[in-house]
């Protein structure tokens, strides 16, 4: 059996080379397959810690067999790259096993790909700093009562506008902040039996948050992103719930839970990152890309779901 490696499955030679160069800095051997059938054959002889898959291949009839083969080999994570606007996002989300999706005009996605790979390999998950340029400052507030959400949402909106961003970006930041704080205050707390005991509380009822229930909000900006990070001390959000939420196309008229808020937050930012330490904390980072006008943005958003393990990260 070979030592751990990274497997790239992509039909485009140029993309293969670019991704190989980017991931080569991790020090892991890089294996390349031109298509899923070749990938299935290769993976039988490999122990990939990371598989990077062309998003356009996910709709292939060979995709389920490939994903099953990868899972059987104990691969750390399956990361999909989407370069074309018409790529099959609903298919990718519907699979429920793609834990990382990077959407970017190909073949340039060095920063996002590097950050994702390094987080997976090093097991160093937490902090929005990883997504901002050196020197960018993160501002911080602690949510100590539920009603503070409105005040903080307003504060972030003012701050985003004050640094010269558009009303549209401010609106996206407001929605994301509102949903993530609401999720952390009302959906995250669980009792000993795993019951989310605040999820059905009316959101307009004031709740004083003791130290155990307080939520940390951080936000910052650089020339690329508005970053909003919300952390709760529960670690109750799990991978399957997240992937199911991201796949939601519509909302129901009743019921609570984290699903609808996360679905809206995902569709209101360009990149949503979940850093999960089960039973300890959940950190969600929303990135709003301010580099491009709406007409040049990708019509889909990236996501990552990282789960902390004792010795690294699991998919």
């Amino acid at each position: 059996m070979r030592s751990p490696s990274i497997l790239i499955v992509h039909s485009d030679r140029k993309t293969q080379r670019v991704v190989q160069r980017i991931l080569g800095v991790t020090g892991y051997p890089i294996d390349i397959a031109d298509d899923l059938e070749q990938g299935i054959r290769l993976v039988q002889h490999l122990s990939p810690i990371l598989v990077v898959l062309d998003g356009a291949a996910v709709g292939s009839p060979h995709a389920p067999a490939f994903i099953a083969a990868v899972a059987q080999r104990g691969t750390e994570a399956c990361m999909t790259l989407l370069g074309a606007p018409s790529a099959p996002l609903p298919t990718i989300l519907g699979i429920g096993a793609i834990t990382n999706l990077l959407v970017h005009p190909m073949p340039v996605l060095a920063e996002e790909l590097t950050i994702t790979a390094q987080k997976l390999i090093r097991g160093d998950l937490f902090g929005a700093e990883k997504y901002l340029l050196w020197g960018a400052q993160l501002h911080e507030a602690t949510v100590v009562r539920a009603s503070q959400r409105a005040e903080l949402v307003g504060r972030i909106s003012e701050h985003v506008r004050a640094v010269g961003q558009s009303a549209r970006v401010a609106s996206m930041a407001m929605l994301v902040t509102d949903e993530l704080i609401s999720n952390a205050v009302h959906n995250a707390p669980v009792d000993g039996s795993g019951e989310h005991y605040r999820k059905d509380l009316a959101r307009d009822i004031e709740i004083e948050l003791d130290a155990k229930h307080q939520v940390r909000l951080r936000w910052g900006f650089d020339a690329r992103y508005v970053a909003i990070e919300v952390t709760d001390p529960w670690g109750s959000l799990d991978r399957d719930t997240i992937l199911a939420s991201l796949a939601r196309n519509d909302v129901r008229d009743s019921g609570g839970g984290a699903g609808m808020g996360i679905a809206l937050a995902y569709r209101s930012c360009d990149h949503l990152v979940f850093n999960l330490a089960p039973g300890k904390r959940t950190e969600i980072i929303a990135l709003i890309d301010v580099r491009y006008p709406p007409s040049e943005r990708m019509p889909a958003s990236s996501y990552n779901v990282f789960v902390e393990r004792a010795t690294g990260v699991e998919p």
């Binding site: 409105a150 549209r168 509102d178 609401s182 959101r203 609808m260 569709r267 709406p294 007409s295 019509p299």
Partner: protein
């Protein structure tokens, strides 16, 4: 007279109910049905800055109640954040009609970006073809370009789109 509900302000101007701020769990939209006049509820949404998930739920209930009561909901000057919700969540569209809405435009000549009001009735044919109506730049007068993907931004105007 203005009425404040959490982060939302309501103001009646003739037959039009003007909503400003955020639509959320405190907005109580359901009882807006009672403000309908002659079977019509006309909402001006130009100053709605965002709708959170609980506001979306409230909005859907309001639309459903209006349909059940035979009240037609007319949406005027729909802000960009509301357009995004209408595009993301099909259920928010209800059976209401959109008379006008704001859309993002950018000027190649001077770089100005602006949210401009589009008449959905006068431009109906062009919009259903996903053609953004031409708009002059308020700063330099050059023709501005629509600053989003038409197929994405105008999908709320197409039934089931």
């Amino acid at each position: 007279m203005n009425e404040t509900r959490g982060r939302l302000t309501l103001e009646t101007r003739g037959d039009v109910l003007v909503l400003s701020g955020a639509i959320d769990e405190t907005s109580g939209l359901l009882d807006l049905i009672g403000r309908a006049s002659d079977g019509n509820l006309v909402l001006d949404l130009a100053a709605v800055s965002f709708i959170n998930s609980l506001g979306v739920r409230d909005w859907i209930r309001m639309q459903a109640a209006a349909t059940k009561a035979g009240i037609s909901v007319e949406l005027r000057r729909v802000s960009e954040p509301v357009v995004h919700q209408l595009n993301m969540i099909i259920a928010t569209r209800g059976t209401g009609s959109v008379v006008s809405f704001y859309a993002p435009y950018a000027c190649d000549a001077c770089g100005r970006e602006e949210s401009l009001l589009v008449d959905a009735v006068a431009n109906h044919d062009a919009l259903t073809r996903m053609d953004a109506p031409p708009m002059p730049c308020p700063e330099c007068g050059a023709q501005m370009a629509f600053n989003d993907f038409p197929e994405r931004y105008f999908s709320f105007l197409i039934a089931g789109g």
